[in-house]
């Protein structure tokens, strides 16, 4: 239903530099599917999501590639067409901080009514308000609260109100941008579950953008791991968690605690994500990868396809088993860090 | 003076290099700042050298060969800007005018900004009833319409150069006070202030050595803005006829040309002072705008 091909998005910074936020991304989304888009901050996942609806700001631009949505290429649509036909109606968004997603000077109900009446002709005010109340009920909020202002809601309630707004037009795709980061863990769980339920009820798909592996583990059907503006690995959830092939995925997986394990040593991936300013002809992850070989610095790895839609962009993808085992040992990562520091010192 | 040195040293250490490079960078990139600095430089030179360069004494009544007064003459070779209805040379008057405008403007601004900063810092630092009283007082001054208040005071106290400077300062400090207080309040919350307090540093030390250097960029910005506002105020006071006897400012020139009833015809008399006030204030605003960019969040730590 949604097919992204070789998408390239560039931002221009104040200094005039071009940041390749999305650097050649291929991705598909099936109907009724929840796709998790995972990565560190700055990897381009939010940009990728926003580029679907053209929300790139004044200095962002899609410079290459196509986004095929139900037979139309979204990159070719005019702003007007995007506004009328795609935004919110087909693809809507749940932002990170729900309270800030509402205009503080209008009631929440008013804002839901506003978007309904804007997209659907012939809906009277009363009908729209009724719809708003229904939505609140669906989300477990008291109907009367549609007449409250955003600041009168608590964090969790605001998030529910935001979800109500997001599903008000029955969109085909829901973009959830770190929807639970601002909430405490208990509420997080409840909200995530409710989103999942709703998604099933509405027959829509969802792209869940997050840096939190545990969130995607629970809710997503498939997971796409992003690094340096590219999708470095993509597969269904179980495969990603049990059978990751890309070193970055391996590292990410190990960085999150698993309650069922007896005692675990947490592993973190040392180093920082790349700046994405200059295009490079090497594997973006190579500088931080403990398994990097010479060929990793010589060119960009193509995707290696494994069965069932599982693909990974790594020269050593076939060695998955061994790499995984080594990856579970925190020393693999710290050794690399020590090595790096040593070599850096010697360079000075 | 040791305290002053310590303050400047602190300020320099905190902002020093970054500030200088930022200013230079701004100068290079911001066209308006360049124009502003250039214009201001010109006026500054005028203020300093004007009286020396003036071909005539601004008050002398000039007579021509046949000993009749040269009234309201258009610009000629002898009188580049023409003459007034009393036969005085306008070019000389114009040259002199810069000095008064700049002096009144900057001195009033200096007083006003200093007073405002002190009040703002004190209110912010001590909080409680001190803050309440100081802010109520500031509110009161805010409630007074500026120009009428100034005129009323000039009326009561008499019109001398010093009085006018003082009176302008007395109304202009209010803006700086509020802004600096607001800024100081947010600085006060920062961790290193708390640690200074817990070490037992004295109040004065904290205010002057820790908070002040951080508000200094904002103070400088407001000093620039206040200078602009003060120049405008002086111009209005003079235009209304309340300039001091020795205050030969551009505003006063406007007062004279207007009251002579000749603005319809004597364009040579009307344009120079009016345009100059506008350009001078504009240049200060341009510089202020550039300063504002410098004092923006990117410079704050």
């Amino acid at each position: 239903m949604l097919e992204i091909e070789n998408l390239n998005v560039r931002y221009e910074t104040d200094q005039g530099e071009a940041v390749h936020a999305v650097d050649g991304v291929d991705l598909t989304l099936q109907p009724n599917e929840t796709l998790g888009l995972v990565g560190e901050s700055g990897c381009g996942k939010t940009t990728l999501a926003k580029s679907l609806i053209g929300l790139l700001g004044r200095n962002g631009e899609i410079v290459d590639g196509s986004i095929d949505f139900k037979g139309r290429d979204l990159t070719t649509l005019s702003k007007g067409e995007l506004r009328k036909e795609i935004r919110w109606k087909e693809i809507s968004m749940i932002p990170q901080n729900a309270m800030n997603g509402f205009d503080p000077v209008y009631t929440v109900g008013k804002q839901i009514v506003q978007v309904i009446r804007h997209h659907e002709e012939g809906v009277t005010k009363d009908e729209a308000w009724d719809r708003a109340r229904e939505l609140f009920e669906q989300l477990g909020l008291e109907e009367e609260r549609v007449e409250d202002y955003p600041h009168q809601f608590s964090g969790g309630m605001a998030q529910r109100a935001m979800i109500a707004l997001a599903i008000s037009l029955n969109p085909t795709i829901l973009l959830a941008d770190e929807p639970t980061t601002a909430l405490d863990v208990v509420i997080q769980d409840r909200i995530l579950r409710r989103i999942n339920e709703l998604q099933n009820e509405l027959n829509s798909s969802m792209i869940l953008v997050t840096h939190d592996m545990s969130v995607v583990a629970e809710t997503c059907d498939r997971i796409a791991v992003m690094y340096g503006g590219r999708i470095v690995e993509c597969a269904d959830t179980e495969t990603i968690l049990k059978n990751p092939k890309h070193p970055y995925t391996i590292g990410l997986r190990n960085a999150f605690p698993d309650i069922t394990e007896e005692s675990q040593e947490l592993v973190s991936i040392p180093g920082a994500p790349p700046e994405l300013v200059d295009p490079v002809d090497e594997c973006r992850f190579a500088p931080r990868c403990p398994f990097a070989k010479t060929e990793c610095w010589d060119g960009h790895p193509d995707a290696t396809h494994f069965g069932d839609g599982h693909r990974a962009e790594c020269f050593r993808a076939h060695e998955g088993e061994q790499l995984r085992a080594a990856g579970e040992d925190p020393e693999t990562w710290t050794d690399m860090q020590d090595e790096k520091q040593a070599s850096e010192v010697s360079h000075d | 003076m040791a305290l002053l040195q310590a303050i400047v040293e602190r300020a320099r250490r905190f902002q020093g290099q970054k500030l200088v490079t930022k200013v230079y960078e701004l100068y290079r990139t911001d066209n308006l700042a360049k124009i502003g600095m250039f214009l201001f430089g010109v006026y500054l030179l005028m203020a300093i050298f004007g009286p020396l360069l003036a071909p005539y004494d601004p008050l002398t009544i000039n007579k021509d060969a046949s000993d009749s007064v040269i009234r309201l003459s258009e610009p000629t070779a002898n009188h580049w800007f023409g003459t007034t209805n009393y036969g005085r040379d306008i070019f000389s008057q114009w040259l002199i005018g810069a000095r008064i405008s700049l002096v009144v403007g900057s001195v009033a601004a200096l007083f006003a900004t200093t007073l405002g900063t002190v009040i703002g810092l004190t209110a912010a630092y001590y909080g409680g009833w001190v803050d309440d009283i100081l802010m109520r007082f500031t509110d009161l001054v805010y409630g007074l319409p500026g120009l009428p208040f100034v005129i009323a005071l000039v009326f009561i106290l008499g019109s001398s150069l010093m009085n006018i400077i003082l009176v302008i300062a007395l109304i202009q400090w209010r803006i700086t006070a509020r802004v600096i207080r607001s800024e100081a309040l947010s600085i006060k919350e920062r961790p290193y202030i708390e640690s200074a307090e817990s070490i037992g540093a004295s109040d004065a030390r904290i205010i002057f050595l820790h908070i002040l250097p951080n508000v200094l960029p904002l103070v400088i910005l407001y000093m620039a803005l206040t200078t602009a506002w003060s120049i405008l105020m002086e111009a209005s006071i003079s235009f209304l006829g309340f300039a001091a006897p020795n205050q030969l400012s551009w505003g006063r020139m406007m007062y004279q040309v207007y009251n002579a009833g000749v603005i319809r015809d004597a364009w040579w008399w009307v344009l120079p002072p009016g345009l100059s006030i506008m350009l001078l204030v504009m240049s200060v605003f341009f510089i202020g705008r550039a300063l504002e960019k410098v004092t923006n969040p990117d410079l704050r730590h």
Binding site: I53 | L140, P145, A152, R264
Partner: protein
């Protein structure tokens, strides 16, 4: 804090401010170096005349009595005696007060409306060349003293183009019939256009700049992005959402702006010979008519304090966060 509480607080604040203002006026008079009576009395009076005048004016009584008399006088509308006009100050200023209010009030309203709309657009256009040009225009208006703008307008539109009269409030020989007839006549409007334009050009600069900077701030908010994601048209987002949120600080500067407006009346009314309070005050000061001058100042201050109060109320109406508290 509920709505009622807020309003009561504001009314209380109004009374205190007013009292402080009146006291300040009283103190100003006492500030005088030298003989305070010189402002009240005309020169060339004999010592006995002076003594009698002093007694009549109550200047020989103890300070607190004078203060009490002063306040009660003000409250009953007794602003003193103008020796130049040989009439009660109140009478002299009554019509002039309205002349000023009609001119400056209209100017303020227009300035705010234009200022807000223009500021919103400039904020929306941030970084573009259009915005830069707009900003420079605003800066030029801000840098021109009101009298300069006025004189330039006079030179262009009156002396050169002859489109408008050069001053005064109505044509010589016009007869007016009653209060409203005076202010709603075309002749009045015709005379008002130039001073009004001068005033608006000067006053709107503050709302424009404040609105613009507020917009620039608001436009980076999350909810603006959501509104864009909702597919709402640009104008709706600009005005209904961004501008509506940025307008609050503009209301708070109403205090200073109305003060500037009243101050401007002194200059603008002088340039255009408009028979208002401002010009009256200037004349009074020039002729040492102390009571008239202070009376005018009192009226002006009262107007500004009133405007502040109205602005406070308007602020509450616009910001629901004040009326309806946080999460229950």
């Amino acid at each position: 804090m509920g709505l009622k509480e807020y309003v009561t607080r504001r009314v209380f604040h109004l009374i205190i401010t007013y009292w402080a203002f009146v006291t300040t006026l009283f103190a100003l008079f006492r500030l005088l170096p030298g003989d305070p009576t010189t402002l009240y009395l005309q020169s060339g009076m004999t010592p006995e005349e002076r003594q009698r005048a002093l007694e009549r004016l109550g200047l020989d009584r103890p300070l607190y009595v004078q203060y009490f008399d002063y306040v009660t006088d003000l409250l009953t509308g007794d602003l003193g005696w103008s020796f130049r006009h040989k009439a009660e100050v109140y009478e002299v200023l009554a019509t002039k007060f309205w002349n000023t209010i009609f001119l400056m009030g209209t100017a303020l309203i227009l300035a705010y409306i234009i200022g807000v709309l223009l500021g919103a657009i400039l904020g929306w256009w941030r970084g573009t060349r259009r915005e830069k040009t707009g900003l420079i225009g605003v800066l030029i208006a801000r840098s021109s003293p009101e009298f300069w703008t006025g004189i330039v307008l006079l030179m262009v539109f009156v002396f050169w183009l002859n489109w408008f009269p050069s001053g005064r409030m109505r044509s010589i020989g016009m007869v007016v019939d009653g209060f409203w007839d005076k202010y709603l006549a075309w002749d009045f409007v015709y005379h008002m256009i130039l001073p009004l334009t001068t005033a608006v050009l000067y006053y709107m600069t503050m709302p424009v700049l404040v609105m613009r900077s507020g917009m620039v701030n608001i436009l980076t908010s999350d909810f603006i992005e959501i509104k864009k994601a909702e597919g709402l048209p640009e104008w709706t987002i600009l005005y209904k959402h961004a501008a509506r949120n940025s307008i609050l600080p503009v209301v708070t500067i109403a205090a200073v702006t109305s003060g500037v407006a009243i101050g401007g009346s002194l200059v603008i009314e002088t340039v255009f010979n408009w028979p208002g309070m401002g010009r009256a005050m200037v004349e009074a000061v020039s002729f040492n008519d102390y009571q008239l001058a202070m009376g005018a100042f009192f009226l002006m201050g009262s107007f500004v304090i009133m405007m502040n109060f109205v602005a406070d109320l308007l602020y509450v109406y616009l910001d629901p966060r004040v009326t309806y508290g946080g999460e229950q």
